[in-house]
């Protein structure tokens, strides 16, 4: 091979490698994006049932129950307008409390029960998870427009 050909081959190789890696990245990116839905959106049927997503809102007071196995917890997440029942097997984070904000990641069943694989805790007591805050905000806005 002449040096010129070698250079050309090298450039082709690099471009091909870059193309493949960009394709890999975008594919991984697309299939691993986790979207966020509020309880109202879920009740309206906007959330997918075949894909994991995040739900946020307040833990409804008096809704936290432990199942007989002692490990599965069920509670209701509300944005003050609509509510969604959630079940989670495992240890709830320290800052999980009734009446406080929560974000859970998991899948929605056909029976309307959201099975969480992860309940997120943040590092600060006074701090509302941004997703939960946004869910409450949206619900309040929707109510205001209804009144009008």
């Amino acid at each position: 091979m002449k040096p010129r050909h070698r250079k050309l081959a090298l450039i082709t190789l690099v471009v091909a490698a870059l193309g493949v890696s960009v394709a890999l990245v975008l594919n991984a990116f697309n299939s691993n994006l986790v979207f966020f839905f509020t309880p109202t959106q879920i009740v309206n049927g906007e959330a997918p049932t075949n894909r994991a997503f995040r739900i946020g809102g307040l833990v409804e007071k008096g809704s936290l129950k432990r199942q007989a196995d002692g490990l599965t917890a069920t509670f209701v997440v509300t944005d003050t307008a609509k509510s969604i029942p959630v079940s989670y097997k495992g240890i709830l984070p320290d800052l999980f409390k009734e009446g406080k904000g929560v974000v859970a990641e998991g899948k929605l069943g056909h029976d309307g029960l959201f099975t969480a694989t992860q309940v997120l805790a943040k590092h600060d007591e006074n701090y509302m998870p941004p997703e939960a805050a946004s869910a409450l905000e949206q619900a309040q806005k929707a109510q205001k427009t209804l009144v009008k």
Binding site: N32, F35, K89
Partner: protein, 658 residues
């Protein structure tokens, strides 16, 4: 009085920083020796005043002066003294002050350890660091003053976030900032090279030890952060691909590319423009990382946008630093001559591929970290990018990098022979593939990821051994003496590469063979995991200095013989009533046993949810990181940086004249 003194010291420091940047930079451009000589005293003076300001803030924390808003928000009278001191940098304002202090420390270090550098280079480097410092001090004084008073004074503080009350958090931020800010030296050297148009092997040799030291601090800082998360968050994980972690990981990736590219620039005079670009990138990412974590933009894009002063300042500062240096680069870089030629199979080529892979990894992390913020800021919905994305992209990208890491250090500069290399490495390849297949079999059965990870770890470790053997073959004398005679730069590289091997082994083993169990336990209940038996013996009340704890006792035994007791705690902090899980860990070289208390399931707290982990070889990850840091410090202390530069400086002046 003391807070006002601190505030005043900060203002003086800002004035000195402005002096430190304008006069020397102008002097260097005009060749005015007197103006250039302002650089050193101004930098040292700035350090004194920033240190006074920091000391004043620390004093306010130590004396519980709740008339200072920052203290009232982030401290508490019952807080132990050491945490009252570390609370100094627990807030946004305090951490920015720590940043400014560390920048002053680095600048002073440059002013002291630069006797052998040409005056105009010193003046430019210190001047540019002064510009960065001016930006930070202005930010502190105009938007984030840590000395603001609270009138009337608060009776009691709100306490430091309990998660930050941990020994890991005591030293993590200073170490991390030593790394972040240390890249400002590499950045200043790069900009100085662009300004002066002098960009040669001598330049790379001056800038290299600084960059390596900063990188070593950053490696250590990141490892501490990961260790803290493992110990303190109670989830047993050591890396979550959380934006705060990515913020520190991105400058590390860029810095790792930079120290490798600098090697080529120093030894072969090639990759000059590329090295400069990487230095700019590493420091820009350090700035981005600081602001991502410390500005609150991560918790809420909108809160950030509604605090216009801070947000606008940060964005314009980033634009000025990144845009300005890139513009300068675009203008000046084409003038840089390219250095020595090299073959497609040579150490240069392998280091280039190392850089390409590291930057590809960096790009994918950057995308995953910033994209959700961007979407949110544009009002296009809330999304999150979790660990599955990062693992799916990062792991495949790193595999070729780790493989080439085994070859690169053994390859000659300019060009080497591939068949020769294959002959030198065939045994290493055979042994690593065999170990990759056999070791997982003996542990818990075949697993392709475990095979790949272990094979790569063994491959790198063997390559390190071969490197030593080939170096020692042609020397004579006792083995210890011969090892001691090897240059520290070589030792540093090999230690760091061996650290990567340890880390890869640890990550692979813990990711594929850890076991965990969440279990409901009553007093006297026992459960098994990984051959250990855990018996729950109940909890007792246990008061701490600023919290109350329920302290559990779990007896761990194996084959009927008692090994040790673990005492996980569930704490309630007095100031805000915040609950906290304190995990109990039994560490050992080959495995950790990790126990955390969940919540009590009955009113008299006899039944608890307990989480148990068995984590094989997890400590190897942090031991590996320690090797990285030690290797970095060792390489930076190489003899040639201290002696050879003196010989080179006049030679360089001659080149300039020519």
């Amino acid at each position: 009085m003391i807070p006002e003194l601190g505030h005043f010291a900060l203002i003086v420091a800002l004035l000195l920083a402005i002096t430190q940047s304008i006069l020397p930079l102008y002097g260097a451009q005009k060749g005015n020796v007197i103006l250039m000589s302002v650089a050193r005293p101004a930098a040292q003076g700035q350090f004194v005043f920033v240190a006074i300001a920091f000391g004043c803030l620390a004093y306010s924390f130590l004396t519980n002066d709740f008339s200072v808003e920052n203290v009232a928000r982030n401290s508490f009278s019952q807080l132990p003294k050491v945490y009252r001191f570390t609370a100094t940098w627990g807030s946004h304002e305090g951490s920015m002050l720590l940043w400014a202090l560390i920048l002053a420390v680095w600048t002073t270090a440059v002013s002291v350890f630069s006797r052998h550098l040409p005056d105009d280079m010193v003046a430019r480097v210190i001047g540019i660091m002064g510009l960065v410092s001016t930006g930070f001090l202005t930010f502190l004084l105009t938007t984030s003053n840590p000395f603001l008073r609270l009138l009337p004074a608060a009776a009691e503080g709100r306490d430091l976030n309990p998660l930050l009350q941990d020994p890991g958090m005591v030293i993590h931020p200073p170490m991390l900032y030593m790394g972040y800010v240390g890249f400002s030296v590499a950045f200043a050297f790069a900009i100085a090279a662009l300004l002066s148009g002098r960009m040669d092997a001598a330049w790379a040799r001056w800038s290299r030890p600084w960059t390596t030291v900063a990188w070593a601090f950053l490696s250590f800082g990141i490892a501490l952060g990961s260790w803290w998360a493992y110990n303190e968050l109670g989830w047993g994980g050591w890396w979550f691909w959380d934006p705060t972690e990515n913020a520190s990981f991105m400058p590390w990736l860029a810095g790792t590319a930079l120290i490798h590219s600098l090697a080529v620039t120093e030894k072969r005079g090639a990759f000059k423009a590329w090295t400069v670009l990487l230095a700019i990138t590493a420091f820009s990412l350090s700035l981005l990382g600081t602001f991502l974590v410390r500005s609150g933009v991560l918790s809420s894009v909108h809160a950030f946008a509604t605090d216009p002063a801070r947000g606008a300042f940060i964005l314009s500062f980033l634009v000025v630093v990144i845009g300005g240096s890139l513009a300068l680069f675009a203008w000046r870089a084409p003038k840089m001559l390219t250095g020595g030629r090299f073959n497609w199979f040579s150490r240069e080529a392998l280091l280039l591929s190392n850089n390409v892979v590291l930057l590809a990894a960096l790009g994918s992390v950057l995308l995953g970290t910033l994209y959700p913020l961007l979407m949110d800021a544009l009002g296009m919905g809330k999304i999150s990018v979790g660990p599955p994305y990062f693992n799916a992209v990062f792991v495949p990208v790193m595999v070729p990098a780790l493989f080439l890491m085994g070859i690169g250090p053994l390859t000659r500069w300019k060009g080497d022979s591939l068949p020769d290399m294959a002959a030198r490495l065939k045994w290493a390849l055979a042994v690593s593939v065999a170990t990759g297949f056999l070791l997982p079999m003996t542990l818990k059965g075949f697993n392709p990821w475990a095979t790949l990870g272990i094979a790569l770890a063994v491959w790198i470790a063997l390559s390190v051994l071969i490197g030593f053997r080939e170096r020692l073959m042609h020397t004579q004398g006792g083995l210890l003496r011969r090892l001691g005679n090897l240059p520290r730069g070589f030792w540093g590289m090999q230690l760091a590469h061996f650290g990567i091997a340890l880390g890869v082994a640890g990550i692979t083993l813990v990711a594929n063979y850890q076991t965990e169990r969440d279990v409901r336990m009553n007093v006297g209940d026992h459960t098994e995991l990984a051959g250990y038996t855990f018996t729950f013996q109940g909890t007792t009340e246990h008061p701490g200095p600023n919290y109350r704890a329920a302290r559990g006792t779990i007896e761990v035994s194996r084959g009927g013989a008692k090994l040790f007791d673990l005492h996980p705690e569930k704490r309630i902090y007095n100031a805000a009533g915040m609950p906290m899980t304190e995990a109990a860990i039994n560490y050992s070289f080959t495995r950790d046993v990790y126990v955390a208390l969940g919540e009590p399931l009955d009113d008299n707290a006899t039944t608890w949810v307990v989480r148990i982990f068995h984590k094989p070889f997890i400590n190897w990850i942090w031991i590996g990181a320690l090797f990285l840091a030690v290797g970095g410090f060792m390489a930076a202390s190489d003899r040639r940086y201290r002696i050879a530069v003196k010989a080179i400086a006049p030679a360089n002046a001659a080149v300039q004249g020519a």
